[in-house]
Symmetry: C2
Subunit: 212 residues, 2 copies
DNA sequence: TTCAAAACATACCGAGCGGTCTTTTTAGGG
DNA sequence: CCCTAAAAAGACCGCTCGGTATGTTTTGAA
């Protein structure tokens, strides 16, 4: 199952990287195994020694991403900041990671593509929606939200905006400008969402890079 | 080229409908021609009499959608309403059409999938972004926007939100709740975007169904 | 140094795809 | 009614895909 020699681990990671790059570019179906093999400089025999199938390879990439988000959320929870700052900081962190790490990006795309194909299982987005909703409810209890704001609706809208921004950014710049695009969304959305002084406080985060 | 008998037109439209349903569900690559043929009750020979290729079929569906949006925009321009109401009304109209018409939905998906695969050509979304930006600039000149709002940034954020909402809605309910989801976005976004009394005025549109 | 297992290489396979070819049926003007 | 072209049918082809089977090289511990 897992490699027992040093060499094997290198080739395994070469496969993962090459596959992530291809999946991120064109998606699962449009990425033939031959392209992944050529890019990684690995032959078919070597590949099927490390992975049982192309599907298994995709699942491994999805897994990396599935493991990343809970850890990231826990880390932000442990900081003990106010809910609104936690929300914005967590999102900004996730977006920043996505813009840099191809494997994460590919994992998210693969997971999303499965959902879009099979309407029933919308695990990933619903999970993010839940995280945002919980934080927004907490923010409401802490008096950080403007009166009349529905936390669940806000969570849904934010999830939509983040998804759309990611796709557009992915198509135009391989997610290089995803963080900037999301900051734009926050600047646009926060005045209607957060009460003072939290709104100005959070917006100021984007001017001080060291906070993130 | 174009059919000369009544029967031919019927089968042609049967093909278009069936193809749209398949493309909308799973996308171009994942929709084999055999599935389209089976769904439409048309054989391969009949199909290739009407369309030169599977790509040509997809292009025809994309074309329907390409022709629809400019007409819709012109219709709203001719109403001579204020920019902000035009913006919201136009979007709500487009979203409502998408939620009901499979062919339009498939066309949008096909066009978007091409863009996402080939980063260079992002014609469709950039066009929408332009339309929204122009209307928002006009709204700014008319004093409908809150001070400090950047129209271009707002247009980008709104485009992202609309795209994300469409995808999520498409995956969970075949776009049946797309209009409701977008109204949610507007309720969430408008307070930070529009000055009074325009904000309340526009929001009231969603309570009176007959306006749309 | 040896040797078994781990790691890699390559030829090959069946399935499903989009597309073509030939043939048959149908429609509608003379 | 008939005859020609439009329209539809279905067998067929080449290709690429993911996956397998079998053979070869490399590794590290005894």
């Amino acid at each position: 199952m897992s490699p027992q020699q040093h060499r094997a681990l290198a080739t395994r990671e070469a496969i993962l990287r090459a596959a992530a790059e291809e999946f991120d570019r064109v998606g699962y179906d449009a990425a033939p195994l031959s392209a992944i093999l050529e890019r990684s400089g690995v032959t078919k025999g070597a590949f099927y020694f490390h992975f049982a199938s192309k599907e298994a390879l995709a699942s491994a990439i999805v897994q990396v991403q599935d493991d990343t988000w809970p850890r990231l959320a826990d880390r932000w929870r442990d900081r003990g900041m106010d809910p609104l700052s936690t929300l914005v900081g967590l999102c900004d962190d996730a977006v920043s990671l996505l813009s840099r790490d191809v494997v994460l990006r590919a994992g998210v795309r693969l997971a999303a593509d499965r959902e879009l194909g099979y309407p029933g299982l919308s695990s990933a987005h619903l999970r993010w929606e839940k995280v945002l909703a919980d934080l927004l409810v907490a923010a409401g209890s802490a008096g950080q939200l403007r009166p009349g704001v529905d936390p669940e609706a806000a969570a849904r809208a934010l999830t939509s905006a983040a998804l759309g921004a990611r796709l557009i950014s992915s198509a135009t710049s391989r997610c290089a400008d995803y963080p900037e695009r999301m900051r734009e969304v926050w600047r646009f959305v926060l005045p209607g969402l957060a009460a003072e002084p939290w709104c100005s406080s959070v917006l100021r985060m984007f001017a001080d890079p060291q906070v993130l």
